[in-house]
């Protein structure tokens, strides 16, 4: 379908605004399924699956304020609320005088995946995907107006704010990504179109990727003297802990990760540095501590 863009005023979890939001994407698999029958060229019938769950991905810059993952996994009866601006004259009675024009609420949702990315460029990001049954309009709720109060980031997660990686110095690392995926599945029942429940069939998978500068590590006499040539290092003792810790206290970690691949790139005649990319996986093992 044609992509739609919306001017977002704010996002709230219950009544608490979420800060540092960069963009949000929503998708639904809803469509019309045609039914044909033998002996008939035209359409015999169709059914709509408009009530497929909506998947919403929220992207945030890590700014020293509470993590979305921490906030959204808070408790029961939670709702997430999106407040939109609409163009002048678009909505009846619409205005741009400090009040949003429309709010959509997802009253029942589950976190389906979360991802943290740290790179030498820019600011670390958190990306949380939630799945819910639908968004409903509700203009009776109180809205948080971001533009009415100027709030600065508490502690932007730039490269200089990375305190430790894997319990040691972050020097030499170019980027780190942690992705935790619950692989949610829908449980349907007869008599109801929408999912009765969503569950993780398990195990939940965490994938981790490190990109390191090999030349730097060798120059520093690093212990990571693996054989260059694409050999995969076997995890010792059934897995090793992987983590990243920021100066503001944020820590993302797994206890036992096993290596799945290692590759090298760069180091060519163009003078580009030799970079090692190592991927790791852990199951039912993921912990996040917010700032």
């Amino acid at each position: 379908m044609a992509r739609m863009y919306y001017a977002l005023q704010s996002v709230q979890h219950n009544s608490t605004p979420l800060y540092g939001i960069q963009s949000i994407g929503a998708s639904s698999a809803g469509n019309v399924t045609p039914i044909f029958q033998l002996g008939m060229q035209g359409l015999y019938g169709s059914y709509s699956s408009d009530d497929e769950p909506i998947e919403i991905t929220i992207s945030k810059q890590l700014d020293g304020r509470p993590l979305i993952y921490d906030t959204l996994t808070g408790g029961a009866n939670d709702r997430i609320q999106f407040n939109f601006w609409t163009a002048a004259g678009e909505a009846s009675g619409g205005n741009n005088d400090g009040q949003t024009d429309k709010s959509l609420v997802m009253p029942k949702y589950k976190v389906s995946s979360v991802s943290y990315t740290f790179d030498v460029d820019g600011v670390g990001t958190e990306e949380v995907t939630i799945i819910g049954d639908g968004l409903t309009a509700d203009n009776t709720l109180t809205r948080a107006l971001m533009s009415s109060s100027i709030v600065s980031p508490a502690d932007l997660a730039t490269r200089a704010r990375v305190k430790q990686i894997n319990g040691g110095s972050p020097q030499g690392y170019q980027s780190v990504t942690f992705t935790y995926n619950l692989n949610l599945e829908n449980l349907y029942t007869l008599g109801k179109f929408t999912a009765e429940e969503r569950y993780s069939p398990g195990p939940s998978e965490t994938t981790i990727e490190f990109v390191e500068s090999v030349e730097y590590m060798e120059a520093m006499g690093s212990s990571a003297a693996e054989t260059i040539g694409g050999c995969t290092q076997t995890a010792i003792g059934g897995g090793s802990p992987k983590s990243i810790e920021l100066c503001d206290g944020t820590k993302i970690s797994v206890l036992k990760a096993v290596s799945t691949s290692t590759s090298y790139a760069g180091g060519g005649t163009d003078g580009s540095p030799l970079l090692k990319t190592s991927s790791w996986t852990a199951y039912d093992d993921f912990a996040v501590v917010g700032p």
């Binding site: 739609m4 005023q9 929503a26 990306e127 179109f193």
Partner: protein, 324 residues
């Protein structure tokens, strides 16, 4: 090219104008830099000496004065903005529907009506300008330049002496000012000259050396001619260059340019938005981008949607809600 336009072009190139008044022929020369400098001094001197003179209004307060005298109202300012936007939209529609004669004629009538309305509003907005110190000084500057550049055709002598301008020649001076004002070439006529074959032949032969002397000494009309020619160069070289009939129609061409401007603006906004979207968000059907309450910013984001966006999109998102 019509002879009248040719003659106007010849006058522009020659840097002088021939003025007829009361069966006499006069020549208005282009002012030298020295004369312009002196005229600036006339302006500054009078301005500084009368800065606190209660008889004058000031341009910076003119809107308040207009409101105070009940000539112009804050609503009128908003009306000008709205009508200008409406005019822009009509010009875009004119360009899009140019092949449909019926729609084209309706658009043209609406554009003419809107332009008339806007002119009335602009006139109201500038109704008291002649009472301002700035406008008065501007007139003094202009008078100084006219006095030092208007010659009798046959004797080539200056017609007026600025120091005793108002003593015995005021009537003649005012009459000549009116005659000179009539000789000014409006923008539409300049555009007609610029797209004429006659001018294009001259211009393309040597774009950088058409008029004699340095650029600072070009007349205002010469500068406009060069700038407009450069603008039309860009249009002719554009990959989506419109047809000749559009180029000849000022309003339709404005519509084409506004559409190009919108496209560039949309590309800039899109590129800014892209930089804020993660790969996963970028694949979504519905993208929410945080904005301030500035109407332009909101409109820019909503305009990125493919047809059916905006509130319809919100409603569509809304209807994705459950139906048990």
């Amino acid at each position: 090219m019509q002879d009248k336009l040719k003659h106007l072009l010849h006058e522009i190139i020659s840097s002088k104008k021939t003025v007829f008044y009361r069966n006499q022929r006069y020549t208005l020369m282009n002012p030298s830099l020295d004369i312009i400098l002196e005229a600036d001094l006339v302006y500054t001197q009078y301005y500084n000496n009368h800065l606190y003179d209660d008889r004058f209004l000031h341009l910076e307060n003119i809107t308040n004065d207009l409101i105070r005298y009940g000539i112009f109202f804050p609503d009128n300012e908003e009306e000008i903005k709205t009508k200008n936007k409406e005019l822009d939209n009509l010009k875009k529609t004119l360009f899009r529907q140019y092949k449909d004669n019926n729609a084209k004629n309706i658009c043209k009538r609406k554009i003419k009506f809107l332009k008339d309305q806007l002119n009335k509003l602009y006139n109201l907005n500038h109704y008291l300008d002649f009472l301002t110190l700035e406008k008065y000084c501007e007139n003094l500057r202009y008078e100084y330049i006219i006095c030092n550049t208007l010659h009798e055709y046959h004797s080539n002598k200056l017609v007026f002496n600025y120091s005793n301008l108002y003593s015995n020649e005021a009537d003649l001076f005012n009459g000549l000012i009116d005659a000179i004002t009539e000789k000014f070439i409006d923008l539409s006529t300049l555009k007609k000259i610029v797209i004429s074959e006659y001018w294009r032949n001259i211009y393309t032969n040597n774009k950088n050396n058409i008029f004699s002397g340095p650029a600072i000494e070009y007349t205002d009309e010469q500068k406009s001619l060069i700038n407009l020619s450069a603008m039309y160069d860009h249009i002719y070289q554009h990959p989506d260059c419109p047809d000749d009939e559009i180029i000849k129609d000022e309003d339709a061409l404005d519509g084409w340019m506004l559409i190009q401007k919108d496209k560039i603006r949309k590309q800039k906004v899109q590129s800014g938005v892209n930089s804020r979207m993660s790969a996963k968000v970028a694949k979504s059907d519905h993208v929410f981008i945080p904005t301030s309450e500035a109407p332009d910013e909101i409109q820019d984001i909503i305009a990125l949607s493919e047809p059916g966006g905006g509130l319809n999109g919100l409603n569509r998102l809304d209807t994705l809600s459950k139906r048990n």
